[in-house]
Symmetry: C2
């Protein structure tokens, strides 16, 4: 099986309240040097080996756009291993 | 600033209901070849350049254990760029 790893985060300019909250929590735990915390999602799944790398890439992009990410406010990158 | 990327996912053997749900959703969208979907968190933040790589690594591990991840059920990996 080919392993696919997808990383999703909010686009630049889209507020990330969860990240801000965790950043403040870190500051109050005395890690005051942490900046620009952004939190997103990480997904991994497997696709059959018989798919070519091209097909796997195509299918992953389709799945991201249709279900995994919200392309209006999120951006994604992925890696096929 | 040094960029740190942290990837958190449930340990092997810990159920991942969110992943299961997304996997079923993909199957019903006709991506039936997707298997072993696991969903976790992805975080990125910046640390000052004046920290040595060693110190940055140490601080990230500390922050993960104290706040970012739940070491009982989650495992994390990170990368400092």
């Amino acid at each position: 099986m080919a392993k696919v790893k997808v990383y999703i985060k909010n686009k630049k300019g889209v507020l990330d309240p969860q990240g801000k909250t965790v950043e403040s929590a870190l500051h109050s735990l005395n890690y005051k040097n942490v900046e620009n915390m952004r939190i997103g999602k990480y997904m991994e799944f497997e696709l059959p080996d018989k798919l070519t790398k091209e097909k796997a890439k195509e299918q992953t992009i389709e799945m991201c756009n249709k279900l995994l990410a919200n392309p209006v406010i999120e951006e994604y990158t992925f890696k096929i291993e």
